[in-house]
Amino acid sequence: MNRPGLRWLAVVPAAFLAWFYAYPIVRIWWVGFVTGDDGLLDAIGTAGVSDAAAFTVAQAAASTALTLLVGIPIAGIFARFEFPLKRTIRAIITIPFVLPTVVVAAAFLALLGPRGTLGVDLEGTVAAILVAHVFYNVSVVVRTVAPLWESIDPRLEAAAATLGANRWRVFREVTLPLIQPAVAAAAALVFLFTFTSFGVVLILGSLEHATLEVAIWRRAVGAFDLQGAALLSILQLIGVATLLGLYGRSQRNRRVQQNLLAARHTTRRARSGPERIAVTAGLTAVVIFTLGPLLSLAIQSFGGLDNPTLSYYSTLDQRDFAFAVPPTEAVANSVTFAAVAAVIAAIVGGIAAAVVAYERTSFATVFDTVLMLPLGTSAVTVGFGFLVALDRPIDLRTSFIIVPLAHALVAIPFVVRTTAPVMAAVRSRLREAAAVLGASPRRAFREVDLPLISKALGVGTSFAFAVSLGEFGATTFIARPERPTLPVAIERFLGRPGGESFGRAMAMSVILMLVTAASVALIDRHRDGDF
């Protein structure tokens, strides 16, 4: 379809990115090259950098593959079956996504450390990094793939089965090609996320392994070598852009329009014995994998199993100590920031997704790639960029909006990646049929496209909310008005010696988990539209 108005609408997301992404990072690079003293190639030439680059790509590729392997079967279960507590389980597997690294590290060390309950010591190994990355990102795959999968007509699969294909062949030759855009989108998100992994690598990884993100941070913050940091972040960006270019090209000719159905027509209860076993086993595995570390945190928040106590919770509100953020205040701040970030991301990302999905030009492909770049750019580069760039024409550097802006920058790619594939897959013939039946274009859009799109947009929005709750992006590197969020409150408790401090940090983490699960479930409920 030809939609002449859409291309110039790209101005909105383009202006957003230009102001809050491109301009800041170009400014900080410029500062780096102007103030840099000598040895332009010193930073690139050292062996450490090529090692870091190789390790960055290798661990991101391995993490992505593993996450897909775990996530796709779970996405299938969510897409095809009805089961009790579905929304609750979907909310639970999103919790890891928002937890601060230092908290996850504590949980993992309790389970998989030198004295871990599981008896395996993964401390300081690459395996620990990979397991943590899967733990963090499995919900990205489930939430990105399931919406498209559950909209696919199950009769296609049934037809193939009737023709004699076994389950694996049905999946490989019918289902996979149809869900492929969403799988690729999930892979791209997980890859970028792990490509710029920072805390997990720094805390859980062996100390000699450093990603480019860690190397950039060391140069920019530790050594204040902005020139070296600029070179490394340009290198990082070139890597990301190359990979995204390949991704875009692989997707361009693979768009399939299809009859998307509402989930209530495609999901059902597990029927046969083997089906029930598979669904139960899959769900049990992912719930244990997710809940294991979360439970170990929860247990510590009650002071252990031997002598459980509520005292960490009842003493969280410690107004005697100025560093202790009252939990209500932390929750209010977190939720406010997250709501604003989610609204910005949904609007900017929604418009951007429409441009990407309905424009079938190379312009759209390039635009799509550019939209993803913030997710693959080091947080310190963006954060310091904000500082040197956002003081004119209005000084945004110290305003309230700077925090949700930084979060939205990371969240927009999630909105685009979850929404665009669904938008592109809606069959134009459906819309035309509606027109033939006398529906106005407005009505055709409202009744055909909108229900399917708004659902995908809902998925993207709840991601944006979660991204902000987890404080992703540049926020730690910008000066912010003192409105401590849940992750900040957790870190403040963790910064004090004494058993009570640790217990309270864990109690605050449990509150973060509950807030995450509750808000994600609420957004999901809204998008399901069945309350």
Binding site: L109, R115, G350, I351, A354, L387, D395, R492
Partner: protein
């Protein structure tokens, strides 16, 4: 082409909402109007509301606090925004990063009258005002080990596999302990010291939280009875312990401590900023420091809380290095340490 106009109207209204949201939020957070002073500091900063109320009552100024990562990030931000500062006063920069800010000339000279009550050895020239200090010291588990008498002792078999330290590239106390070994053994000797320390089974943790809460025997049930932490950790351990304690379960090793001094400096040439620095050296602020930030006030007249007088041992001869020396060598030392310890 009706449908495209419809899309446009929907999307345009969304854009207008977005712009409205932006415009709304763009109203500057800290209103730097008349009578407000903006303080930029690090994430660990905390002071009680009553103290700020006193400041406002005494001076008529309201305080707006901006927090910005750790001391290193804070320093870099001050350098990056030198031409258009985000705050009037910077507080929380320490002697391990001070040289960087002094080199860049971010501060406006100011000598507060309150400096008379600050010991000479804490001062660092006319650009900055010392506000507090803390000593990074080894902490030991009183029930598990006798404290070593010197850094040399740590090399003996008696302390094999007992110590956990932090990576100086990523951790402030880790860097302070590295500087303590450099101050003790000199440019020619510190690397040999570390090689032997590593042979003796020192564990290197990524950050203070992991070292203290996962590896230290007291903090979190680890197996290392010696940890690099702060002289103020034992009183904090008492205040935040599970049960009321009469004795701290941990002690401070009195040798090999490195002194971190935190400074405040003036970023804008303003009376508000000067009165804030004056206030920060005054007794109200100084006496509020220990229980909120677990460091010691720079003003010798400030009274310490009972937990600090009872359980904190201020080392009598802490190690220090000149900020300029640290600034010109820090990155090289960290690189050399990384080469010998992690590769």
């Amino acid at each position: 082409m009706e449908h495209s106009r419809i899309h446009l109207s929907i999307l345009l209204s969304l854009v207008l909402v977005a712009l409205a949201a932006c415009g709304d939020g763009a109203a500057p957070g800290p209103v730097r109007g008349e009578g407000t002073v903006v303080l930029a500091t690090h994430d660990s900063f905390a002071i009680s509301d009553e103290t700020w109320a006193t400041f406002t009552a005494e001076t008529g100024y309201e305080v707006e606090v901006l927090t910005a990562g750790d001391a290193g990030t804070l320093t870099n931000q001050a350098v990056l925004t030198k031409d258009n500062p985000t705050a009037d006063v910077l507080y929380g920069i320490d002697n391990t990063f001070l040289g960087r800010a002094l080199d860049a000339g971010v501060f406006i000279e100011y000598e507060s009258a309150g400096l008379d009550a600050v010991p000479e050895e804490l001062r660092a020239g006319p650009d900055v005002t010392p506000i507090d200090f803390g000593d990074v010291c080894l902490n030991y588990d009183k029930s598990a080990v006798e404290p070593p008498d010197s850094l040399d002792d740590l090399l003996s078999p008696a302390y094999e596999n007992m110590l956990v330290v932090q990576n100086p590239a990523a951790s402030s106390p880790g860097l302070a302990f590295l500087l303590a070994t450099i101050a003790t053994y000199g440019e020619d000797g510190w690397q040999d010291y570390w090689r032997t320390l590593i042979d003796n089974g020192v564990k290197i943790a990524p950050d203070w939280e992991t070292a203290y809460f996962s590896d230290f025997t007291v903090g979190g049930g680890g197996d290392r009875p010696l940890v690099v932490s702060y002289a103020s950790s034992p009183p904090a351990g008492v205040i935040f312990s599970e049960e009321p304690l009469t004795e701290a379960p941990t002690g401070t090793v009195q040798v090999g401590c490195f002194r971190q001094i935190e400074y405040a400096g003036l970023l804008t040439d303003s009376d508000e900023g000067r009165s804030l620095i004056d206030f920060m050296l005054g007794l109200t602020f100084q006496e509020d420091i220990p229980l909120n930030m677990f460091v010691f006030p720079a003003n010798v007249d400030a009274a310490l809380p009972s937990e600090f007088t009872a359980y904190a041992d201020v080392p009598s001869e802490p190690l220090t290095l000149d900020p300029a020396t640290i600034e010109s060598n820090r990155d090289r030392w960290i690189d050399e340490w990384t080469d010998l310890a992690l590769r």
